[in-house]
């Protein structure tokens, strides 16, 4: 039968076998961190925390792009919307709180803010409205950055004049490096992000393994993928090994997607970036190369904002570092709920707090 790439990787009988295998070989208490919002959601959806042995702890890291976007960047985007421009953005960004307001509120106040599915839609607005500047809010990891770079290259090819991108992109391996270096976190292994790795391949994790002796397994998103990824990590840990391996072989090759990397490197170069919770991380963001500077929003607009204020009491930053789990935040499920979110980890559909709330993980323990 022809593969459909979904159902085959959700078979409950195989899941039972994988869980049984994990229970059989796992003795050491371990803390495994995932750094991808889709892993966060699916671990909750499949209730994996309740199914694994209690000494296997799964913690969420900085895997949600809008969550790790610094409050100052959000403030700048909100400020940008006050100009006479069309703002185009992915929907996730709309409700994320800045210091005082959010993009939803700006739209209610009359700003022209449009939610798009792809950065190419934003370029479409620029082609249709040559008089008005279009600003696309570029948020995302290595999965998203090449799509935006491809759009910018197309804009240059079509000589589009008033199309600009706010680059708040973030790179995952430098953040993992920062986390593994912090002494109070004790991460025993990384469940590495599947779709980021489709692009970047295995090499960045090999460097991480070499420097920090931490097992890394690039893992897919279906039930069996995640269980197999965890099994591969535990095998390494029980044997005292640290290697970079690929579980998600149908989509991730050692070298990654060379074409996407080329497109990304044509437009951007790695530069220092500020992350919510993690602070400034060297070479963890993407800035425009000189040949594409004309599309950088900062080369046309001087966006000035006051010092950012984070929501009082919100511990989203500590959640993103894996320092606490969401129920340990005093606001969680009390003042802060999906219907009335206070911090970005509860706002975004793939934020750790939203995932814990939705799947009631903290009640299972």
């Amino acid at each position: 039968m022809k593969l459909r790439y979904i159902d085959e990787f959700r078979d409950p009988e195989v899941a039972r076998r994988l869980l049984s295998e994990i229970k059989k070989i796992s003795y050491k208490p371990v803390r495994l961190m995932e750094v991808c919002g889709t892993h966060t959601m699916n671990i909750g959806r499949y209730a994996l925390r309740g199914l694994l042995p209690s000494h296997v702890q799964l913690i969420s890291g900085p895997g949600c792009p809008v969550c790790v976007t610094a409050t100052k960047e959000i403030d700048m985007m909100i400020k940008m919307a006050e100009e006479d421009v069309i703002i185009a953005t992915f929907g996730d960004l709309m409700p994320v709180p800045g210091s005082h307001t959010n993009l939803n509120q700006q739209r209610a106040n009359g700003a022209d803010i449009r939610v798009v599915y792809s950065s190419f839609d934003a370029l479409g607005f620029a082609l249709k409205n040559p008089q008005k500047p279009v600003v696309f809010l570029g948020v995302g990891f290595e999965t998203t950055a090449p799509t935006i770079a491809a759009t910018i290259i197309e804009a240059k090819r079509r000589r589009v004049r008033k199309f600009f991108v706010f680059s708040a992109h973030k790179l995952i391996p430098p953040a993992m490096e920062g986390l593994i270096s912090s002494p109070d976190l004790n991460i025993d292994g990384f469940i590495c992000p599947g779709h980021v790795s489709v692009i970047i391949g295995l090499k960045p994790y090999k460097i991480l393994v070499k420097r920090h002796k931490v097992p890394c397994v690039v893992t897919g998103f279906e039930l069996l993928d995640i269980l197999q990824g965890i099994l591969m990590l535990i095998k390494q840990i029980e044997k005292g090994k640290a290697r970079a391996e690929i579980q998600y072989r149908r989509a991730v090759k050692e070298e990654g997607n060379l074409r996407a990397k080329e497109v990304m490197e044509e437009v951007f170069f790695p530069c220092d970036a500020n992350w919510r919770g993690l602070g400034l991380i060297s070479k963890s963001g993407l800035c425009f190369k000189d040949d594409y500077k004309e599309f950088d929003v900062n080369s046309h607009f001087d966006i000035k904002v006051d010092k950012a204020i984070d929501p009082p009491g919100c511990r989203c930053g500590d959640v993103l570092k894996g320092k606490i789990i969401p129920p340990q935040c005093p606001l969680f499920a009390k003042a802060c709920r999906p219907t009335h979110p206070i911090g970005p980890c509860m706002v975004s559909s793939e934020g750790s707090c939203a995932a814990y709330y939705k799947y009631r993980d903290w009640e299972i323990g």
Partner: protein, 92 residues
């Protein structure tokens, strides 16, 4: 000229990548039409590792094909799972 023809747009969360089946390829425009459960949309082929053929599955993210899925590798993973099912030792 539109960048790609209008069609149903799927709900998207940021890093979500969904395997979708290619039903049409238009190389002149650098686009392909993909199908998931009857919902179809046009996607860009600017960054995909290799141009997919009709019937191939690609991972789609934010309107772009990211990767043409490797059927051989997928089958290998699945046959490993099948082997586990044949294992008759009792479950722990």
């Amino acid at each position: 000229m539109p960048l790609y023809p209008k069609s149903v747009k799927l709900e998207d969360t940021m890093c979500l990548g969904i395997p979708m089946k290619v039903v049409k390829v238009n190389l002149a425009k650098n686009v392909a039409k993909v199908d998931i459960g009857g919902t179809q949309q046009w996607i860009r082929l600017d960054i995909v590792n290799e141009v997919p053929k009709i019937g191939d599955y690609v991972i789609v993210h934010a309107g772009f094909a990211l990767y043409r899925l490797d059927e051989k590798e997928a089958q290998e993973t699945l046959s490993l799972f099948e082997e586990m099912l044949r294992d008759e030792t009792p479950l722990h």
